[in-house]
């Protein structure tokens, strides 16, 4: 009798736990409902504007009638390299198995609406909303970013140390770490960093001899500053920009100084024997993103590459940079798999911000090859996506979508990452028109 009563009470208690609303510290009635697939997501906006002809199409020079076809992305895609007429210096691949075999390749996705501009494309991928022609480059986006969704709807709440936006260029890109949406904003923003500047020559000259403040100095700063701030009628939330906690700010401060001073060694994504002079901005950005991952193990990191935009004037340089960026991605995946925290607990997604035109412009390069712009023709809306991760979570070796029947859109990236990190159902549905790229997951 007692045992039966115990079982019944246990069952009732369990049912109560499952069904009863729980008031969270954040004021929400219910806890985040989703289950995480993994604990880390790395999104690579593999950008600069890339034509599917030279990536998943593996046409190399064939499309121009100037040589053979072939795969120049040995790390991301399966396929034989060009048999000749090389306008790039081939590098040994960083991975033994191409990433497409370690995940699901969405061979033809759509950048369905809006101008195919670089900032537009980045905004679409990071907000899950298409942009209009009149997109203002000087202010934060209208709709919430992926980072804000992640920080606001994850439970327990996540600090900015878990969300990073690592951008190759400055310009308007710093504005993509949070939106001006009234329900989100800087409170939920990501840490933004542009390594080429943060660790560039000027910084090396100016800041590399600095020391981080000692704990005693920090304590005194905190005491006096708190007193001063208490007597002013504005607070830190009145100042634009995301905010780290004092402790996390100090951690990042020390990290930056140590990198500048060489106390944290940097490895470059280069095959052995290849000189440092072969580094591109893309590769430096990827190496910096890895340093952040290695140091802080963020749950969400976005890194971009943009050097391929040289295609406006130099097709051969575009092919070379495509080859190098592809190497960087393979190198990054190897690093992630070698990390005790992120290995087998990370999904990496790669997607160009947009494509490029079908028809060339009037410029030819030193090899007589045509250059291409991106002026919103149908070809510049044709992109690919690649999702890689552990085999029990991500479908391996699967190829989805064709030119005739594309599968997926740029605006699907935000909901897909929200699904992976388990907060998709907590985002108000009217904010995200895209859907989850379900086919990628087991």
């Amino acid at each position: 009798m007692q045992r039966r009563k115990f079982l019944r009470n246990t069952a009732l208690t369990a049912a109560g736990i499952i069904s009863a609303p729980y008031i969270l510290p954040s004021g929400r009635l219910f806890a985040a409902s989703g289950t995480r697939l993994v604990n880390h997501v790395v999104l690579v906006v593999f950008g600069g504007g890339i034509r599917n002809q030279e990536t998943v199409g593996q046409q190399y020079l064939l499309n121009q009638g100037a040589g053979p076809g072939g795969n120049v992305m040995y790390n991301m895609l399966e396929g034989a390299a060009p048999s000749g007429s090389l306008v790039y210096t081939p590098w040994e691949p960083a991975v033994t198995t191409p990433l497409s075999a370690q995940g699901t390749l969405f061979k033809h996705m759509r950048y369905a609406e809006g101008p195919t501009g670089h900032f537009n494309g980045h905004s679409v991928v990071l907000t899950g909303r298409y942009t209009e022609t009149g997109l203002n480059l000087n202010i934060n986006p209208e709709y919430p970013t992926l980072f804000e969704y992640y920080r606001k709807h994850s439970d327990p709440a996540k600090s900015a140390m878990n969300a990073w936006w690592v951008s190759l260029d400055l310009g308007p890109y710093p504005a993509l770490n949070y939106s001006r949406h009234p329900d989100y904003g800087s409170l939920y923003g990501a840490n933004y960093i542009s390594p080429l500047t943060t660790f560039g020559d000027y910084a090396d000259d100016k800041f590399s001899t600095l020391n981080a403040l000692h704990p005693e100095e920090l304590s005194r700063l905190n005491t006096v500053k708190t007193f001063l701030d208490k007597n002013f009628d504005r607070s830190i939330v009145d100042i634009p920009g995301m905010v780290n906690t004092a402790e996390e700010k100090q951690e990042i401060h020390e990290f930056i100084l140590k990198l500048l001073q060489g106390d944290i060694p940097v490895e470059w994504p280069l095959p052995s024997g290849v000189a440092g002079s072969n580094l591109t901005g893309d590769l430096i950005n990827i190496a910096s993103a890895w340093k952040i991952m290695e140091q802080f193990h963020p749950e969400l990191l976005v890194v971009n590459t943009t050097n391929l935009d040289v295609c406006h004037t130099d097709f051969s340089g575009y092919i070379q940079n495509l080859h190098k960026s592809d190497y960087g991605i393979g190198w990054l995946w190897n690093k992630i798999q070698s990390d005790p925290v992120m290995s087998n607990d990370t999904i990496m997604i790669m997607i160009p911000e947009h494509g490029r035109n079908l028809e060339p412009n009037t410029i030819t390069d030193i090899h007589g090859l045509n250059a291409y712009d991106h002026t919103t023709d149908e070809n510049s809306r044709d992109i690919f996506g690649l999702v890689v991760g552990p085999s029990d979570i991500v479908n391996h070796g699967l190829v989805i979508g064709s030119e005739e029947v594309p599968n997926g859109q740029s605006i699907d990236i935000v909901p897909t990452i929200a699904h992976i990190l388990g907060f998709k159902d907590d985002i108000p549905s009217y904010l995200l028109p895209g859907g989850v790229m379900d086919e990628a997951f087991v």
Binding site: Y192, T198, Y202, K206, R220, V224, L228, I239, G241, M242
Partner: protein, 176 residues
């Protein structure tokens, strides 16, 4: 353009007004029109209170005022450009402000011009008044004088640099 009607702080100017008023009973109304008060170096107006500061400094204004407050001169344009660009490269503006400020405070040119800690402790009230005027462009309230004096007196390890760093990173310093 913003128009302000405020008193000047120059002691000589005050002395002149006091002497003039003492000499004759005629009432004088002094109206001073200021434009771009932040960058005025020779004629610095004083805010009557912190509440008058309601506009956020732009990054360019913040860095310029930081530099002129510490170096007593205008920032060279190429240095300003470099620092504004560097400031863009990090999302946490408190962090990047701290990096920029620390590099300035460490510069021998600035460091050698700072009051000594002995100077500070020999006349704390004077130090507080001067610091509020230098960085906040206003006089401290009695409460502020009392509170900051207490902090300095209670912690003998607090230095002039600690105080300066706190002022230059404080929220009030971001506004004008």
């Amino acid at each position: 353009m913003q128009v302000f009607n405020r008193m000047k702080i120059l002691p000589l100017f005050f002395s002149f007004i006091l002497l003039f008023n003492a000499g004759c009973k005629k009432e004088h109304i002094i109206t001073t029109v200021y434009d771009n008060i932040i960058f005025e170096i020779d004629t610095v107006p004083v805010y009557a209170s912190a509440n008058e500061k309601d506009r956020l400094k732009t990054p360019l204004q913040y860095i310029s005022s930081l530099y002129s407050n510490l170096y007593f001169s205008s920032i060279p344009s190429n240095e300003l450009d470099n620092l504004v660009i560097y400031r863009l490269s990090l999302g946490d503006k408190n962090l990047v402000n701290e990096i920029i400020l620390n590099s300035m405070l460490k510069d021998p040119e600035v460091y050698s011009s700072l009051p000594s800690n002995d100077d500070m402790r020999s006349d704390i009230d004077e130090f507080i008044n001067t610091t509020y005027l230098r960085f906040y462009l206003r006089n401290p309230t009695e409460y502020e004088k009392y509170g900051l004096r207490e902090i300095i007196e209670e912690d003998l390890t607090i230095t002039v640099i600690d105080i300066y760093r706190s002022f230059l990173l404080s929220t009030e310093y971001m506004f004008y």
